[in-house]
Symmetry: C2
């Protein structure tokens, strides 16, 4: 029995920022995330085993203990059949788990419950997915594709690979935050991967990162470029069936595992948007993925193979991932997981779930969510994504009868997957608050919580995050009514607001140009492939609007199981939130509420604008409950969002009005922009988009 | 008895544009103003006398006759004591007047009544002022100071003085429009006058202009630079008491009258904003004005001498015109008229009337209104100024007891003025619709109508202008209810809306920089004299806001007659529309409706924004009643106005909030801009200010 005493010197360095973060200088920049320093009581922690992860568990308990002063708590690693994977049991006097990670997660859960004044005893909690992974789209040069919170926390360019104490501190903070919500894996680089990722000098930095993440139970993964053998290795080909190529990958894997013995595996974007892949050599996705899987198998590594593929020739991009992958079902090794985006297109504000979920019975499939807000206002807009992910996870695929939700089709409940996993495209960067928008922290938090428990309700997630993140300095009796409730309501409504002001009623992919920020339903330069242009998706004409994916159209509906396929196919039973996704609808079509489609479209855009204005009111009213720095930061972004919402509304309605030839209902607020003006201006200039943290300086 | 037959050849040229303006190409660009071509009936016109003015009168009758087909109408110049000046009498069968102008005005009134379906017989109408003059702030280089409707119709630069047929056509159209509303004088150049104005080559062009205006009864005037004798004439001084100087002016006057025998006289801005004047030589305004008056007297010319003076040293700019001119009462020649701006500062959205009105019993005083919208959104904002001028004209000065309105103090009703006059700073430029904004035509119209009858109600003016200007091509039974009534309501509300979103509750002079467009309560560069900076005027501090002009402050109130002075002096009786003009008021001061001053200020700004949004709704609803070109033009400007209103609201409230330290009432829509952002951006860039007509191209 070992009584753990004060901090280890090394840990002390790692946490120094956290330890000082209760000071005024750090009090309110949001750097502490949902792990706010609290006034803690003394606690005696008993733990038989000793390890870096357990040291961290003990340290967290001592730092955050809110229970009885001088209480005694035991951390026990056992073999308990009620506990699965990294799960844990909270008993009256201790935490039980089968793994060290389980103990750590149990500690964080216990502390969370203490802070939230929730019961802490006799709870078993098991994760929905074995691998809960963040995908960082970080480039070696330090930029982040679709990153809106500053530059990479991992990379500064290949000329600056030296690992500094500050790096180590930051990576440790990052790992700790992940551990606190159960995330146990990080892909350190962009899926559009440079072959240079696997260069030995870069792998040395990977080792340093892995060493910093490991004490918090976070495993390291890498995205790889399928042409690495040729481009980096100098081989004549990267054909996955070529023995030299296989050998190259084997050697590279050996090199990696020597540096990072618990390396998680590879993430691959192949034959997608210009990335190389097995099809370049006449091989299938399965042949490509299996080759890498075989290479990693001896090291217990896995391959996460993305299904985000589409060619420029198919008549309906929404059908293509299914078309390419469904026939390969059964051909993949059991350490390959097919990583499928939540919807069939690309992280739009609202998509129906991808038809691939539940369709591949003999293949491990993992959902990919986007935490960074590529299509949802970047780090300017307050959009709580938990509701979007919950909507996806709880969507019923009907693949194995009623109740075959996306969650159950991917977490092993229905299909016998060797590996279960879930990925989130990270929104983390060097901004002092990590995520650009303070409320974007909630999306990081929510991804971790839903990855742990895919049946969680967003209301609970929002509730937890809000209370942890905005703990009042002074307890105020009104905090519940005047802060938590209205702000939670705002969070839970925020994604629907974003859908309303940008792409309501099933509209999708109508953003402008390559920045994916403002509206651009008109955007269709001659030299751009049509399936990258909005008119391909909205199909607006004098006859109506929407993409006919019914049996009379592209027949994408038939990729879904019955009775869903028929429900979606029939305009009368298709949910109106997906109406224009599946149907081309005449402007005068009568909606369920009696309005015409055109009027309803106008009402949705208008409602979106009003919702954001209401968010502004909601936020302004809680000024007394929030530190000034975070208050003004969020207030300022809400202003941008309010103006952006108007730009979206006007841009879309004035554009579509050219086809509908109907007036915006006169009871609604009128457009304030000219279509011609919005068509020529970059919406980011128009609304004064803050570039990362410079905005508030 | 002479029966006038078809057009004279010369007149035909002058009117050719009007004659074709019924064509589609010209139908809807607004060039026809309120003089829309109508389907006319034949009429027999009998007139004993023959003259260019009478020819035009006859021509108008024949072109616009809406009465009985083949009717006979007599034009009679007589000596009728019920008719004054250019007045007229409409009888059953003819028009009677003492002057040719009177006949012409009677014709236009008759035709207007026919179009408006008003009774046409037995009406005597006499003008309130003898001289109803437009001041054009046009520079010889063709630019217009505070002009927002394109370049000058008179000047293109001294290198291009040749008079073209197009010039003549345009000047004739301009004169006809003036005649149709009773305007009988035009000052052809900027009050900030170049000495070059009086150069002989420029005077030749003045002659050509005068010749073109004369057939419509419009007399020509010029602004003169007081230093002309030295700068243009090469004398050593411009001292008004120097005989050489007097001689120079005499010669110059002789030269002018040889070219323009009915020349009206000089307009002078002296010792004001850097302009030279008699004070440069130790002489008084009276000595300077009288010298010019003596020079012009033999020619029956007059001097309009502006009272717009203020030095940078006085503690209250609002007091200065009165301080300088009141002591000179009785010292001016009887052909000098002191031209006084409606308010004590400078054409702000709302000012109390200038204390000079009614204060100079022995001096002719004329009001100066600003038709061009220097401080009211340029040609972007729809602001019908008639209500503002009506408010001024009907303000009671109490100088000769109750009922001594500004109107009666200036039109000869109370004081025995030799000359009565009124001036409006023109909003006319080369834009095809003359005034930039189609609704700015209404301000030109309103100025003329109020100059003719200073007791007119704005409702009547708006009604006339609207019906004349937007006559429906097809008579529609709903025109009254669905077009005229709501648009008239919008017009009548528009100036109050502008006050609300820019300078409510007596705030004034809080615009930004030199462009006088957007908000700038913060604007106070170190190198600018304080009385040109907004903080001088709003005096916002933690103690409150507003300029203390009571007896305990600058005592400007005492320039007004009792009981008004006492009423204004007491915060409890001072009208709230002038509250912050006369009082420095604490943020928590209780307004009459029970709100605090701060809250009320917020409500006013918010109301202004909502009003403009309502105008947008109102306008959009009448789309079916307006030709597309004018409809979209106005619609587009209303959008700009709606965004500008938000900029004004946010800029002012966020700035003043720094002092009030109070929240914007939470029920109101929140600001969408950052103060810092508005402080650095040029509001014209922000709201996409259209530069003249380029906007719609």
């Amino acid at each position: 029995m070992l009584k753990i005493k004060p901090l280890l010197a090394k840990a002390a360095i790692c946490f120094s920022i956290f330890l000082t973060s209760g000071n005024i200088a750090f009090a309110d920049n949001g750097q502490e995330l949902w792990l706010r320093k609290v006034q803690s009581n003394s606690v005696e922690v008993i733990c038989k085993k000793k390890s870096p992860i357990l040291s961290n568990a003990i340290e967290e308990l001592q730092r955050g203990w809110q229970g009885k002063k001088g209480a005694k708590i035991t951390l026990t690693i056992s073999e308990d059949k009620s506990i699965k994977g990294d799960g844990f049991k909270l008993g009256k006097d201790g935490i039980y788990a089968n793994t060290e990670r389980g103990i750590l997660y149990g500690v964080f859960e216990l502390l969370r419950r203490q802070t939230l004044h929730q019961p802490v005893g006799n709870i078993v909690s098991n994760p929905s997915y074995d691998r809960r992974v963040l995908n960082h789209w970080d480039n070696l040069n330090g930029s982040i594709e679709r990153g809106y919170a500053g530059r990479s926390i991992f990379w500064r360019g290949e000329k600056d690979l030296v690992v500094t104490p500050k790096d180590l501190e930051l990576w440790s903070q990052y790992a700790r935050a992940n551990a606190s919500i159960g995330i146990n894996g990080s892909v350190l680089n962009n899926v559009n991967s440079s072959p240079r990722m696997l260069a030995s000098e870069n792998l040395k930095r990977v080792k340093a990162i892995a060493d910093a993440l490991r004490p918090f139970g976070v495993r390291t993964y890498l995205s790889v470029n399928f042409s690495s053998p040729a481009i980096l290795g100098g081989l004549k080909t990267s054909d996955p069936l070529n023995p030299e190529v296989v050998k190259w990958w084997k050697n590279k894997a050996g090199e990696i595992y020597k540096l990072v013995p618990d390396f998680g595996g590879f993430l691959v974007k192949a034959n997608s948007e210009g990335q190389p892949g097995p099809q370049d050599f006449g091989r299938t996705h399965a042949e490509g993925a299996n080759m890498l899987a075989d290479v990693l198998q001896p090291h217990q590594g896995i391959v996460m193979w993305r299904a985000f593929v589409y060619s420029s020739t198919d008549k309906d991009r929404a059908r293509q991932a299914y078309n390419e992958f469904k026939p390969l079902d059964g051909q993949f090794r059991d350490n390959v997981i097919i990583q499928v985006k939540n919807g069939p297109i690309d992280f739009q504000p609202r998509e129906p779930f991808s038809a691939l979920f539940g369709a591949m019975e003999k293949t491990s499939v993992m959902p990919e969510f986007q935490v960074t807000q590529e299509y949802l206002g970047h780090s300017n807009h307050l959009v709580f994504l938990s509701t979007m992910w919950e909507e996806c996870l709880k969507s019923d695929t009907y693949q194995k009868g009623k109740g075959s939700t996306v969650a159950r089709c991917t977490d092993g409940s229905i299909f016998n997957q060797k590996h279960t996993a879930i990925a989130g495209v990270s929104n983390v960067g060097l901004d002092s608050n990590w995520t650009g928008h303070h409320f974007a922290q909630a999306n990081w938090y929510a991804f971790g919580r839903l990855a742990w428990d895919n049946s969680l309700e967003s209301e609970k997630v929002a509730n937890e995050w809000l209370r942890l993140t905005f703990q009042p300095l002074i307890r105020d009796n009104n905090w519940e009514d005047k802060f938590v409730d209205p702000i939670k309501k705002m969070m839970l409504e925020s994604r629907e607001a974003a859908v309303n002001y940008s792409m309501p009623l099933g509209l999708h992919h109508i953003f402008s140009a390559n920045h994916h920020y403002g509206p651009g339903p008109w955007w269709a330069p001659a030299n751009v492939r049509v399936d990258w242009t909005p008119p391909y998706y909205h199909q607006a004409s004098s006859s109506g609007i929407g993409f006919n994916r019914t049996k009379s159209g592209s027949d994408a509906v038939s990729q879904y199981a019955e009775p869903l396929a028929s429900q979606l196919n029939d305009i009368k039973t298709c949910p109106e939130i997906y109406l224009l996704w599946f149907h081309h609808v005449s402007w005068d079509y009568k909606m369920k509420n009696g309005r015409t489609l055109w009027d309803e479209l106008c009402y949705h855009y208008d409602r979106g604008v009003q919702q954001v204005r209401d968010f502004q009111k909601t936020w302004d009213k809680v000024e007394a409950f929030v530190d000034p720095e975070r208050f003004h930061h969020v207030q300022s972004r809400l202003k941008v969002q309010a103006r952006d919402a108007e730009v979206w509304k006007d841009g879309c309605l004035l554009y579509f009005q050219q086809f509908s030839k109907r007036p915006v209902p006169y009871e609604l607020e009128r457009p304030v922009y000219e279509l011609k003006f919005l068509q020529t201006v970059n919406p980011m200039q128009l609304t004064g988009k803050p570039s990362s943290e410079e905005w508030m300086k």
